[in-house]
């Protein structure tokens, strides 16, 4: 492109893979756009996901001279999900970039997703020049207004002299305390304007003080309650992973011999192979986890917001339990479930505080045995007929068996996501990358890209549904272009399966707009994108196809044709009693 001619670099441009050297000379800020990019560099950013466009062009132009790698996504929603997944696996804020107007609104779903799951992410959006703001200019939208409820904080960076500081602060805030998304809206004139204000290191604003350690008096009281518990249980949430407290939680649970239940975002915070693990609780949780959470008398919730998919109806949620709530966000205390012992602080440090106060494991052997019995009584199981169509659970289980131990799983949203929860065995933090809170169909394809680039040495497998895949499959072009070794498994039932399951369960089988009369052949579609495509229909091909797809060095798509009638069980109906989970459609009907 002729643009290159305008970059009158005094020095010859370094070759692409030799960019390290250039980073040693500290660049001087000359424009607002450079201030934004250098602020990201100062924060340690080395990758951004985005889509070009008119109002963000000055910022992209500054990226031209930067060491930050930019991954051009097919759609801004893909950029947001990729940045979100990058943030989940790396622990550092992922960066998403988009232009004004539709670019910004296309980011919105991904930002809301990051907000619901407390994923660290910073979005930079272009904006029309400040003179035009408010005039309904071309590609103008009130990005700050639209994203206000779904960001931790957002900024209208209209002053080139403070633009860099806004980006620094936004980055710091996304990463600090309870993580989450932030956004900086960059009007084109401010990006282009000259400034010589150099970037500052990222710091949170002086009004932001996340709690670190909990009140000792409450810690003592909580420890006493836990010590005296007859039926103790730990509920390990996503905050355990975000707060890097998995090791502490494991040590704590084992030392005091307390059964551990996880939330969905908490998958991997405690190894499911451990004898103390009861698995995931909630709508499609295990029988053992749901019975333990319902019948415990002291519940230690760590880094969890007691979401409704976890609690079911609050009237029947852990109704005998005193709740010890370890949480970094004060607003989560008593929001959904009353905390008898609110312990505000960093999960790792509060667990240390509790550990200091406790002496022995609670005397609860009968309860431990009961939990063990439940685990045996309620295995996650499925019928394995000899005849096709394939059971989706079998495909997930076989993949888990053949995959690396530390493989990362990403998903779309729906039945396949629940089977990926249930039939994969999670043992390490940051191996479960999903849209837990917002439930965004289409999260699968782009999240795999972000996860792979955030953890390039790890195996990445995505379980997707045919419906979810159809929503963001254009991002497969990015996986091919970037030559990313990802295995996509579409559990294809030619339907929006979870809706179909609910229609059968709660709408008298009136299957309105849930079944696809026709869908593409995904293996062929994958090939046309330049990926490898496989069609999987038979039981005796499963291992072989998984092996071939894993061995293929690049993106592979397995179109697994599964039993379209298969449902996800156990199931607690929305707002229902966790302890009364249904094991079959008949039981569901009777609830």
């Amino acid at each position: 492109m002729s643009e290159r001619a305008f970059h009158q670099d005094p020095e010859p441009e370094p070759p692409a893979d030799d960019k390290e050297e250039a980073s040693d000379d500290a660049r001087e800020v000359t424009t607002g756009a450079e201030a934004a990019i250098i602020a990201l560099e100062e924060a340690g950013v080395d990758m951004a996901f985005g889509v070009q466009g008119g109002a963000i062009m000055p910022v992209y132009d500054a990226l031209y001279d930067s060491d930050i790698d930019h991954i051009t996504m097919a759609h801004e929603q893909g950029a947001a999900h990729a940045a979100d997944a990058y943030g989940i696996v790396s622990g550092d804020p992922g960066v998403a970039m988009a232009t004004s107007g539709p670019g910004a609104t296309n980011l919105v779903t991904g930002i809301a997703d990051a907000s619901m799951d407390s994923d660290p992410m910073i979005a930079l959006t272009g904006q029309v020049a400040t003179d035009f703001v408010g005039n309904d200019a071309f590609q103008e939208v009130d990005t700050v207004g639209i994203t206000q409820p779904i960001t931790k904080q957002n900024y209208f960076a209209g002053d080139p002299d403070t633009l860099g500081a806004d980006v620094s602060e936004a980055f710091a805030l996304a990463d600090a305390g309870r993580q989450g998304p932030t956004l900086v809206d960059l009007p084109k004139d401010a990006s282009k304007a000259e400034t010589d204000v150099q970037p500052v290191s990222p710091e949170t604003p002086d009004t932001y003080h996340p709690p670190e350690t909990a009140d000792e008096v409450v810690v003592q009281a909580a420890a006493e309650a836990l010590q005296d518990a007859d039926r103790p249980a730990i509920l390990s949430g996503g905050g355990v992973i975000k707060g890097e407290a998995s090791d502490e939680l494991r040590a704590f649970a084992r030392k005091y011999d307390i059964p551990v239940i996880t939330t969905m975002p908490g998958l991997g915070s405690f190894p499911e192979t451990d004898d103390l693990s009861l698995g995931m609780a909630g709508m499609h949780g295990t029988g053992a986890a749901n019975l333990a959470i319902t019948n415990c008398d002291v519940l230690v919730g760590v880094g969890t917001r007691f979401d409704d998919r976890l609690t079911g109806g609050v009237d029947t949620f852990a109704p005998d339990a005193e709740v010890i709530h370890v949480e970094i966000d004060p607003a989560e205390i008593n929001k959904n479930i009353y905390a008898d012992y609110p312990l505000l602080g960093d999960a790792e440090r509060v667990l240390e505080q509790l550990d200091d106060e406790l002496t022995d494991a609670p005397e609860a052997d009968e309860w431990r045995e009961q939990c063990q019995t439940w685990t045996e009584e309620y295995p996650l199981d499925y019928e394995t007929p000899d005849d096709e169509p394939l059971k989706p659970q079998y495909v997930v289980e076989r993949f888990a068996e053949l995959a690396d131990d530390d493989a990362i799983v990403t998903t779309g949203v729906g039945q396949h996501q629940m089977w990926a929860c249930q039939f994969w065995t999670y043992t390490e933090p940051r191996t479960w990358v999903s849209s837990n809170g917002l439930g965004t169909m289409g999260y699968g394809v782009p999240s795999a890209i972000g996860a792979k680039l955030g953890a390039p040495d790890r195996e990445v497998v995505t379980f997707d549904g045919d419906g979810s895949f159809l929503m963001t499959m254009q991002e497969l072009s990015v996986a091919v272009r970037e030559d990313l070794d990802i295995t996509y498994v579409i559990l294809n039932n030619e339907a929006i399966g979870m809706v179909r399951q609910w229609q059968d369960g709660f709408y008298e089988g009136r299957r309105m707009a849930s079944e696809y009369p026709w869908i593409p052949e995904f293996d062929l579609l994958a090939e046309s994108f330049g990926a490898r495509g496989f069609r999987l229909e038979e039981y005796d091909e499963v291992d072989d196809v998984i092996r071939q797809a894993r061995e293929y060095d690049g993106p592979a798509v397995i179109d697994a044709i599964i039993d379209p009638g298969e449902n996800v069980y156990p199931m607690v109906p929305s707002g229902g009693d966790n302890g009364l989970f249904a094991l079959s459609e008949e039981q569901l009907d009777n609830l």
Partner: protein, 205 residues
């Protein structure tokens, strides 16, 4: 039907807890559920004086369904800080949740609920027909108010005071032909020497 029927004891055969929680997630005596009655709370918040803060706060109250009675905002002695006074009507857990959600907003520096004895003042401007100016002035004085504008057609009086006082004044003015009324929300301060936050000037004396 091939769709999964899983093994294990049926719902009615399982261990059952005895307790129950109310809709606020608080454990209750299943025999006697106590419900929280809504109460009026006055929240005073110091916020950074920057664009968008008012929208952020009002958006928060609306999307979290906090029942807002009034909201006022104005400058403080510190140019960088504004004070908001927000009156809400919520059951106890809602009051606490509103305070915490408000404090969570980044531009919010400090939030306090004022004591019920706190000084609360509202302002009303009442425009009535101008045919009985002396009577209007007399009623205004009864409520400590004053006529602030008079023409041949209309008299406008100003009343400040508690919500109750202004309600009463407006009722009294209904004997005249009321043309238009405007009222503000409450501005409120704690009684005595108590002040909020290190950021308000001369707070530690």
């Amino acid at each position: 039907m091939s769709s999964g029927e899983l093994p294990g004891p049926a719902p009615e055969e399982r261990m059952r807890p005895e307790g129950r929680r109310n809709t606020q997630g608080i454990r209750i005596d299943p025999e006697a559920e106590a419900t929280h009655q809504p109460r009026m709370a006055v929240l005073s918040a110091l916020v950074k004086h920057e664009p968008g803060v008012l929208a952020e706060v009002s958006g928060l109250f609306s999307r979290r369904q906090f029942n807002i009675e009034s909201l006022t905002v104005g400058p403080t002695t510190d140019d960088g800080v504004a004070r908001m006074t927000i009156v809400i009507e919520e059951p106890e857990p809602g009051v606490q949740q509103a305070k915490k959600q408000l404090r969570k907003l980044i531009p919010v520096i400090e939030v306090e609920e004022l004591e019920s004895a706190a000084m609360r003042r509202e302002l009303a401007l009442i425009k009535v027909a101008g045919d009985k100016p002396d009577d209007v002035q007399a009623v205004a004085e009864m409520y400590g108010g004053d006529a602030v504008d008079a023409s041949t057609d209309a008299v406008t009086v100003e009343i400040t005071g508690s919500k109750q006082k202004i309600d009463a004044a407006i009722e009294a003015f209904e004997q005249f032909d009321v043309l238009e009324i405007v009222r503000t929300g409450a501005a409120a301060l704690e009684r005595g020497s108590k002040t909020m936050g290190a950021t308000t000037m001369e707070s530690d004396n």
